[in-house]
């Protein structure tokens, strides 16, 4: 009985991982080119930016929040990076500025939510709209062109055979996993999302924790903006629309609970890869973009359904 219980909890814990493997196998059988190194590289590239956003989103959701603004923040930071990344300017400058801009948006969100006591949905919906407007404003609504060659080539390049974009993602994933699972800070993020009252009474500065998770999401959105600009080789004020939804989907599919306090970094990685390979696989199979949306919608609902079912069993 004990073994059986253990086995079933093992399966439910790694469920999404098994699904992932199953889909890889199915796609490979249907289209062997799916598994080609070239396509795998593509998948990593496609997944990276969403993967980075998803890690920011992971902290926010685990702490009990929700961030609708990361797509707009990405665009805003991307425009700033494009405006700075011209001529001989070293790449570090647009990188720092775009991350700093993202950080500011994140802190603004966090302060509004924890100090101003606004619902996370409303506050970040506000910044989503406002920051998108700001992105359009600073570039007059036109794409920013004329990036330096080094900047344009950044996202297309590889390091030790791995796409540079993926290297950024791997570094972010490693840092975020470490912070979430090993540090006191990470533990407190979980405590806040699990029961904010209990966390407060235990002496945790819950306002700081909440603000900081939004700051992380903003920071990573800024980084994503920097990378996005390099990837599309221009600064697009309309970039990253609905990217927040992809990030949320990756988290939820990866087992991060929307009610907070639960989530695993490796789940977020698998979640990101899962939605990417489904999109990529459907592309290779020649399925229309409309159908892809329908499939994505189904995945979100089914993933949350599994999450809710799993939880209610334990109550």
């Amino acid at each position: 009985m004990e073994n059986k219980k253990k086995a079933s909890s093992f399966i439910s814990e790694y469920f999404i991982f098994f699904i992932f493997i199953a889909i890889v196998v199915i796609l490979t059988i249907m289209k062997p080119s799916f598994i080609s190194p070239r396509n795998l590289g593509n998948i990593l590239k496609q997944a990276s930016i969403n993967g980075i956003l998803a890690f920011g989103m992971m902290f926010v959701i685990i702490s009990g929040g929700f961030d609708m603004s990361v797509g707009s923040t990405l665009a805003f930071a991307g425009i700033l990076a494009a405006m700075l990344g011209k001529g001989q300017v070293p790449l570090i400058l647009p990188l720092i500025i775009s991350m700093f801009a993202g950080l500011c948006v994140g802190i603004l969100n966090g302060v509004g939510i924890s100090v101003g006591n606004l619902p996370a949905f409303i506050m970040t919906l506000g910044t989503q709209t406002g920051i998108r407007g700001l992105a359009l404003l600073i570039c007059g609504g036109n794409p920013v062109t004329g990036l330096s060659e080094g900047y344009r080539n950044l996202a297309a390049g590889t390091i030790l055979g791995i796409p540079t974009l993926a290297v950024f993602w791997i570094v972010v994933a490693a840092i975020c996993s470490f912070v979430a699972t090993k540090t006191v800070y990470g533990r407190r993020v979980f405590a806040c999302g699990g029961n904010i009252q209990a966390a407060r009474v235990a002496g945790i500065n819950t306002n700081f924790i909440r603000i900081s998770t939004f700051a992380i999401a903003g920071l990573l959105a800024g980084l994503s903006g920097f990378l996005m600009t390099s990837r599309v080789t221009i600064g697009q004020p309309t970039a990253g629309e609905s990217y927040e939804m992809d990030a949320i989907t990756a988290c939820v599919v990866g087992g991060v609970s929307m009610s907070g306090g639960v989530g695993k970094p490796w789940g977020v990685i698998v979640g990101t890869l899962l939605i990417t390979i489904i999109a990529n696989g459907l592309d290779i199979l020649g399925v229309s973009a409309y159908w892809q949306k329908i499939v994505k919608g189904l995945i979100i609902v089914v993933a949350v359904l599994i999450d809710v079912k799993g939880k209610s069993k334990k109550d």
Partner: protein, 497 residues
């Protein structure tokens, strides 16, 4: 040093309200000190000041362990040696035992969490407490009592010299209460002082050494439990003498109007239980928490699927698929947890009272606010609900008044059978009495009432007949003449006589 904690002349003013007015509290090391008073007497406010959640008005003084005591938040209070086990504070369910014990003061090594040391330390503390759970178990998988012990372990592990326990027995069974008392005695022996907040008289006399009583934010008196008795305490709390704690009104018992035969729930939490009640009769259902009492009435009421059983209301068989089926037949259920299943906490008193019998508020088929207000006003007066107006948000009322709103909601539907699950839990002496009198007047009108209660004296005081449940089945039944605490206890623990 005679007192470990000495609070003098403590006042707290909120905008428009003086919650505390120069009260005092003196606690000796190694004693269990009860704080008593009706809801709103200022107990929680005082404890929040002690924990650094509220700041007191200037003029008061707190001495702890011989030193002036100044704290600004719960963490500082814990670091100084004062810990609190909150009544309504749920633990972090998705975290493990060891994570909960060390939340907010994680052990670290090289700046990162030292998981191994935490698990070892947690294991030691758990064993010391005689608890059998793994430190890596998630709290979601533990019982309420186990979670509460984890909270106690947390309090001990900060080396608290004073531990505040706010209604620690509100959600645990009698057997677990004994366990809790064992832990309290062990803490006492170590010289730890406990500040114990509870509405249950039997507990006060069972475990406490001294009592301090407050009323309306004022200090009324202090004494030892040896020199005080229940009547004296109640008098201090309510300010007048209540000679009759369980008033019982005479009612004429008529024919059987409600019968549930061989009720078995699909999830097997209730097996083959039969109950019936007559007009004018008050039937009590006793037993330990978890014996299946709430599960029985919820099953009858259509909140859970039954796999067997017949329900007859006023001689007519009723097929219950959902609560609406049985409400239509004139049955009402005042559920156990008013905040979860009883009230729309963000709605007004009027909204809540008209929730069930909404058809009565209609004018030409449309909801009429005026009519709803008029109807609810009637019940506010009849049940003596203390609220500024019917437009007040229910979440802002005290527990006793909230409970009266729940009862009003059902009474407006004019039921003949009223089932009440723990109708007086967490409400103060005065409001309890109001509810007993109300139940009495309901049966005088020829209605039937079924009460579930964990407090045996309450059942014995108000009921005509008591059915006792144990582990999902019925273990016995007795009429008023045969009531005795021992036999109910025996049936509840299901020991063959």
């Amino acid at each position: 040093m005679e007192y470990i904690l000495d609070m003098q002349n403590i006042s707290k003013t909120f905008p428009g309200v003086k919650a505390l007015d120069g009260v005092q509290l003196k606690v000796r090391p190694g004693e269990v000190h009860a704080l008593m008073g009706e809801n709103g007497a200022g107990k929680s406010t005082l404890m929040k000041i002690l924990m650094g959640i509220y700041t007191m008005d200037p003029g008061g003084a707190i001495t702890f362990n011989g030193q002036p005591y100044v704290v600004h938040n719960p963490k500082e209070a814990m670091d100084t040696g004062v810990a609190m086990i909150h009544q309504e504070l749920n633990p972090i369910l998705d975290m493990t035992v060891y994570e909960n014990i060390f939340v907010g003061r994680e052990l670290r090594k090289h700046g990162i969490v030292d998981k191994k040391a935490e698990i070892e330390e947690a294991k030691r503390l758990i064993e010391e407490c005689g608890l059998h759970v793994s430190p890596t178990e998630t709290l979601r998988h533990l019982t309420v009592a186990q979670c509460q012990l984890i909270e106690i372990i947390k309090a001990i592990s900060v080396n608290a010299k004073v531990i505040i326990m706010d209604e620690p027995t509100a959600a645990i069974t009698d057997r677990e209460v004994e366990l809790l008392f064992g832990h309290i005695r062990r803490l006492k022996a170590k010289g730890v002082a406990i500040i114990y907040i509870s509405h249950r008289m039997d507990e006060i006399f069972a475990i406490c050494d001294s009592v301090t009583v407050y009323r309306d934010g004022r200090y009324i008196g202090c004494g030892t439990t040896k020199e005080l008795d229940e009547a004296a305490l109640i008098k201090m709390m309510v300010g007048r003498e209540i000679t009759d704690v369980f008033p019982k009104l005479e009612a004429k018992i008529g024919e059987t109007i409600f019968e549930a035969k061989h009720v078995t729930r699909a999830d097997n939490k209730v097996r083959d239980v039969s109950i019936s009640v007559k007009r004018g009769e008050i039937l009590g259902i006793g037993g330990l928490v978890g014996a299946g009492r709430s599960e029985l009435v919820e099953g009858i009421f259509g909140m859970h699927r039954l796999s067997g059983g017949e329900i007859t209301v006023k001689g007519k068989p009723v097929h219950v698929h959902s609560p609406a089926d049985i409400i239509r037949e004139g049955v009402a259920l005042v559920t156990e947890d008013r905040k979860v299943t009883g009230l729309n906490l963000t709605g007004s008193v009027n909204d809540n009272i008209s929730m069930v019998a909404i058809h009565k508020t209609l004018v030409n088929g449309l909801y009429s606010k005026g009519k709803a207000r008029k109807l609810s006003q009637e019940y506010i007066e009849k049940l003596n609900i203390k609220t500024p107006s019917g437009d007040q948000i229910v979440g802002n009322l005290s527990g006793g008044n909230q409970q009266k709103v729940v009862i009003s909601k059902w009474l407006l539907n004019d039921p003949d059978i009223i089932i009440m699950d723990e109708p007086t839990r967490g409400i103060d002496v005065g409001a309890k009495r109001d509810i007993y009198l109300l139940i009495g007047s309901l049966v005088q009108q020829g209605k039937a009432v079924i009460i579930i209660s964990s407090e045996i004296p309450e059942l014995m005081g108000v009921c005509d007949r008591i059915v006792v449940m144990a582990e999902g089945h019925m273990s016995g039944e007795m009429s008023r003449a045969d009531f005795s605490q021992e036999s109910i206890m025996r049936l509840a623990s299901d020991i063959a006589v």
